[in-house]
């Protein structure tokens, strides 16, 4: 099962895309700002060090080198927190004074040798740019004044921090907004899904609540409600139509049968005539049987009867049926085996009479259509997902390619055509199974036929919905069906 994420995949994609765009835009903006401000700052620092070096050179001319060194070391001039540093080399090229702790003398002096008169110290984010100016001293040696772009670096650090913070905040806001929107549309989609599921489970009056917003989801909700209205109207029509047919078709049939019955009581010279009349009555009766069976299948499929469900003890029901049918099975020269695991089969919510009719239908098929000496087995097997009721025999069975046709209305298998019947027994039983959220599989028992009615634990849950209307599809292509079902889930 898919983890239940609060975000829909669409919204997640949207958020990721917007975030990337935001980061790129912010980076571009920041770089531009940084480069501009850096150039400006560098020019000002260059000017300043040039000023300082000129003044210090003058000081040296009047006070001598020692005076200069004392002056610098005393630090009298450096009240400025962003003070420049001073480096002095004597005539031999040895560094006699260096006031910077951050920038090594070598780095400072080699920068002075460059035409741009600036350098960088440190790595990564702690990189400091510095600018230097140097001048020869009157008594030999050289004086160098440098200043690192502390202010510039600070402002850059602030900018980087601000940038990161801003980006993060923007992302968070975007995520929250996305979550909000996504949550809202998610609730609406959820409404639609649950409405469709409950409609399919027989709650015909349920519709998607309309939010009043005019967007594509509202369009979808509108379309769903319209379709459900249409489906409901079709079902109503079907029910009305059966009532109409019942009234208008059965009235003449009833009169016809009554007339034939009156006539059949008369004495005829020709015994053939009397037989023909009886056959006519039988034909009318069988017409009515087919008609009722079709109506019943239709009504079962509409799910109306679920409102009358009670708790049914399946093992007891099977035992009851086996008890009734034991003598009938014996009379037909068959043997009946009952394998009922009584342990933990939960009661089924259902209609006891219909469930009984369904099982008897399959059992009587086995009795009727197998030769003498066949063993018929009624089984109940507990599974992790529910339980199986099976009616199997070791008779001649049905060829694989015929099995799927058994689920069709009016289909009669070659071997059974000689026996009475209309080919509506299995469709009727399948309709009962589906009314109960169960589904029917018919397969090869090797030898014989194996009919399995699978009752899932939670028949009207969403994951079962796909399976519900699929009796008969399982036998031919099992993997394909399960693939189709998982697509639905």
């Amino acid at each position: 099962m898919k983890p239940d994420l609060a975000l829909t995949r669409f919204h997640a994609h949207l958020i990721v895309a917007t975030s990337c765009l935001l980061v790129v835009a912010m980076t571009f903006l920041f770089s531009h700002f940084f480069i501009e401000s850096h150039e400006d700052l560098a020019a000002r620092v260059q000017m300043r060090v040039q000023d300082v070096v000129t003044s210090l050179a003058e000081y040296e001319r009047t006070n001598g080198l020692d005076g200069l060194i004392r002056f610098v070391e005393a630090g009298a001039a450096w009240h400025d927190p962003d003070a420049p540093f001073v480096s002095v080399r004597n005539g031999a090229g040895e560094v006699v004074l260096h006031t910077s702790r951050d920038i090594a003398p070598d780095a400072a002096w080699s920068a002075a040798a460059l035409s741009i008169r600036s350098g960088a110290a440190g790595w990564g984010l702690s990189t400091r740019f510095f600018h230097v100016a140097s001048t020869p001293l009157s008594q030999g040696g050289q004086l160098l004044v440098g200043q690192s772009e502390v202010k510039s670096a600070q402002s850059r650090d602030w900018a980087v921090g601000g940038f990161a913070l801003l980006t993060f905040a923007a992302l968070a806001v975007m995520f929250l907004v996305g979550l909000l929107f996504s949550g809202r549309s998610r609730t609406r989609v959820e409404d639609m899904t649950s409405t469709l599921f409950s409609f399919a489970a027989g709650e015909m009056d349920r519709r998607v609540p309309m939010s009043g917003q005019a967007d594509r989801l509202a369009d979808l909700a509108f379309a769903i409600n319209g379709t459900l209205d249409y489906a409901q109207r079709l079902l109503w029509n079907l029910n009305y139509m059966s009532a109409d047919i019942a009234h208008n078709l059965k009235k003449p049939l009833t009169r016809l049968r009554q007339r034939l019955e009156v006539v059949s009581k008369c004495e005829f010279a020709n015994p053939d005539l009397s037989r023909k009349i009886d056959e006519g009555i039988q034909e009318i009766d069988s017409l009515v049987v087919i008609f009722e069976a079709l109506l019943n299948i239709g009504q079962l499929q509409s799910g109306d009867r679920r409102s009358r469900f009670v708790s049914v003890d399946m093992p007891a029901l099977l035992a009851h049926i086996a008890d009734i049918y034991e003598p009938i099975v014996a009379d037909h020269g068959h043997r009946l085996e009952v394998c009922i695991a009584r342990q933990h089969v939960p009661p089924v919510s259902g209609d006891r009479e219909l469930l009984m009719e369904m099982i008897i239908n399959f059992l009587e098929n086995a009795i009727q259509y197998t030769p003498e000496g066949t063993t018929i087995t009624i089984g109940l097997q507990e599974l992790r997902t529910g339980f199986d009721v099976s009616i199997s025999d070791n008779g001649p069975g049905v060829p694989d390619d015929e099995i799927k046709h058994l689920f069709e209305r009016f289909y009669r298998f070659e071997g059974t055509r000689a026996k009475p019947g209309h080919g509506l027994g299995i469709p009727f039983a399948v309709a009962i199974a589906e009314l109960h959220g169960a589904y029917v599989e018919i397969g090869d028992n090797k030898p014989g036929l194996n009919v399995v009615v699978h009752f899932p634990n939670d028949p009207f849950s969403r994951s079962q919905l796909g399976l519900r209307l699929r009796s008969g599809l399982h036998i031919t292509s099992k993997p394909q069906v399960s693939a189709r079902v998982s697509e639905q889930i």
């Binding site: 009532a243 009235k251 009722e292 009504q299 009938i328 009379d331 219909l354 009587e364 019947g421």
Partner: protein, 224 residues
Amino acid sequence: MRILLIEDDSETAAFVGSGLRQAGHTVDVVENGKDGVLLGIQDDFDLVILDRMIPGLDGLSVARTLRSSGQSVPILFLTALGSINDRVQGLDVGGDDYVVKPFAFSELLARVNALGRRSPLRDEHEKLCVADLEMDVVHRIVTRNHQPINLLPRECLLLEILLRNKGRVVLRTMLLERVWGFRFEPKTSVVETYISRLRTKVDKPFKTALIHTVRGCGYSIYEA
């Protein structure tokens, strides 16, 4: 029996009415639901036969009105609406039996007779008998010619129903409903098999057979 027939189709009403009269019942016919309710409440009938789709007031409402006015008269629905849901609805509003059109008159008659004879309270020492066959209903003891006969519970119930309708036809469908709880026609010979087992125990060892088959219809127990 005095029977009220509420049926709007005159041909069916005439067919049912004349058949019931021939069988010795008195039949009053009305064509719409409102008259049916009025008559049903005023007069004391032994049975109401009710169509469902009738003008005035539909059959279900007629049955509901009769029941809510305190009438406990047996009601038999005779209707074209024959699906499972329709039957359930009919029995829900207080109907006692449900016959679907088109119908065989013999079936209707058997069901009418069965409804008319309902509800004698069970006597503690109630004994049912035909010829030399006796059944103690409470203790489920069956004897014939003073020899005890061992019957399984379902065979016993089958025999009891036949004995309670001594001399009259009991339909296969009525037996299916009462003995097995089947409201459908099984494809195999359930009733025949059980009747044949019952005959083996009750009739075979003795000179005369008491259980008789009524062709195409049902069974009857009587002394020939």
